[in-house]
Symmetry: C2
DNA sequence: CCTTAAACTAAACGAACGTTTAGTTATTTT
DNA sequence: AAAATAACTAAACGTTCGTTTAGTTTAAGG
């Protein structure tokens, strides 16, 4: 062994993640990443291999943060009301300095031409499935209903969450809250 | 006067529009546009000034097409049921070869860093307002209710439409139809 | 203490981007 | 028919992108 790294990979990934979250994948250049992460291009490449490789680490870092929100929902047993709270929690979680930052997974799904990068696509699909399963199991606790209804309501709320996170980058807090309230009127 | 143009600007704009619609603004290169529009870069620049200038023409061309859908809704007087039909009509309108293409306005809102290009932002905002006003006036015909309720329901449906068009690029027809049905249960 | 190897800096890489320019062709008008 | 002018072709422009490479510094192991 020789020299030790001056930086923590975990720390620089989190910085990169926040930059990707705010600006998107394509609009975030290696130059911006160098500055934000505080390390040289060479160090980025030696630690993560490529911009894609770094981005995948960022997606994983994001999922860990998002999982703290999901754990809160997992811990409760009141069905739809808790999912609604999850929607509000998400808005708080994704708050930017002015408009919201959306969800890194959703933003990426909107940006990336699907199936362009196999590994990234896989993370996105898995993450989406996780959220749907979380909604389904939350609904199951409340409803004791036909699995078909559970499936449909979970899918509905999945798309609503997808829409909300996309919309959070453009619409006002009032509009977003109004959207949540109306979404849960009939659940 | 000297030579006449070999191409119709209207025709090449529509071809460009479809390319932007499918691939997004950034991912559509001048090289791709040359090929798809069947004219040289020079001709594109002499007709439209810049990539942004061409794109704005494409947004206008898109709005003309979208207005045909909106006219159908304008012509009816049955409130929410017709708006629901508009949602289904939109899915048909935005159908791609495999997954949907979404809405050019929504796709652009998701892609562009808001307020980066003033002119583009203006078109996006105006277009969004138009849709909201269309929903509001449709609801007004049915409801005879408090303007506040109209406003809230129109905003709710606006965000639902925004979410649907974003989701249409990623989710299945079944999921999208299920989303529409559940959305209108709340109206 | 000296060798060695990994982490560092900084510069350059080729490719692709949007845009411009120089030079040619074609058609209208005088 | 000649002159004029706009549409055309094709090549090159300067930037920026992600990535790589050459050369230097640092510190651990024998």
């Amino acid at each position: 062994m020789a020299r030790q790294k001056k930086y923590s990979e975990e720390e620089v990934v989190e910085k990169a993640m926040n930059l990707f979250w705010k600006n998107g994948f394509e609009s975030t250049s290696m130059q911006m990443l160098e500055k934000e992460m505080g390390i040289n291009k060479f160090s980025i490449y030696s630690s993560f291999g490529s911009k894609n490789g770094l981005f995948i680490e960022c997606l994983n870092s994001y999922k860990i943060e998002l999982n703290r929100l999901m754990d809160k929902l997992r811990a409760t047993e009141n069905g739809a009301a808790d999912i609604k709270q999850y929607f509000y929690d998400f808005l708080e979680f994704s708050k930017g300095s002015d408009l919201g930052k959306g969800c890194l997974v959703t933003n990426t799904s909107n940006e990336i031409d699907i199936y362009t990068d196999e590994k990234i696509t896989e993370v996105l699909i898995n993450s989406t499935n996780d959220v749907k399963q979380l909604f389904a199991s939350s609904l199951r606790k409340e409803l004791e209903k036909d699995e078909l209804i559970i499936e449909q309501q979970a899918d509905y709320l999945l798309l609503a969450m997808f829409g909300l996170s996309s919309a959070s980058r453009l619409f006002t807090k009032t509009q977003l809250h109004n959207y949540i309230e109306n979404t849960f009127k009939n659940i």
